[in-house]
Symmetry: C2
Subunit: 120 residues, 2 copies
Amino acid sequence: MSQTQMLKGIIDGCLLAIIQGKECYGYEMAERLSEYGFCAVSEGTIYPLLMRMQREGLVTSVRKNSTAGPKRKYYSLTEKGNQALEDFLSRWSQLEKSVNRIIRQETKGNDGNNGTTSTI
Amino acid sequence: MSQTQMLKGIIDGCLLAIIQGKECYGYEMAERLSEYGFCAVSEGTIYPLLMRMQREGLVTSVRKNSTAGPKRKYYSLTEKGNQALEDFLSRWSQLEKSVNRIIRQETKGNDGNNGTTSTI
DNA sequence: TGTATATACCTTGTAAAACAAGATATTAAG
DNA sequence: CTTAATATCTTGTTTTACAAGGTATATACA
């Protein structure tokens, strides 16, 4: 039960969310994920993921010059990507509810999660 | 982005929670997960997982007769399993917060829930 | 008796995902 | 000239969930 296993199928949804918020490039997404509390998602994870999502038509990319360093590859959501994001949001919501239901009903004297049942 | 991918590293934590709630056997756990909203977690997933957790010393098992069918293998949590459950609860809580923070701040069409950027 | 059904466990092989550990460039600062 | 920060990509490995089977027990019913 490593921490990375719990990210499977979730990181790509988070990337879609970040891209929807604002056109963005891979290196920056890694930093953003880190800020959001994910512990250092590897670039070896992010870049293949972005390429796969582009291959699937969820995102498009444009290369732009950077003021400090090599060119950046900015990603944007396609219509299909927007749909995929919505699918992710609904699946995440369902998963969250199911897991929290189990935790609430099955565990006794639990810590780590005090009554704040997250909305969404 | 399949639905099963999002379960990676989460099902085992949920099983630990179910077992903590009450001594339980594999076939019943599958039914419980289904009731909790997980869509039909395969027995090909659950049994190998339980055996792995026993190998790792997180659970112990006892065979007992059933009133209708073959013998059941009841699992209980060890001290180590209790610790593993607590680890899972804290990791899940952290993941939940991170993902919801991203969703709240990055996606549009979000409900008016104001995102206070709490640390950790 | 035979057979269908629900119960209960287990195995094998496969695909997807995340990551470590690199390789490769570009730009600025010392 | 060297170092560091920025930026992208590749290869090989490990973990995980699952499909698709197999085996066995007990009950109900014809």
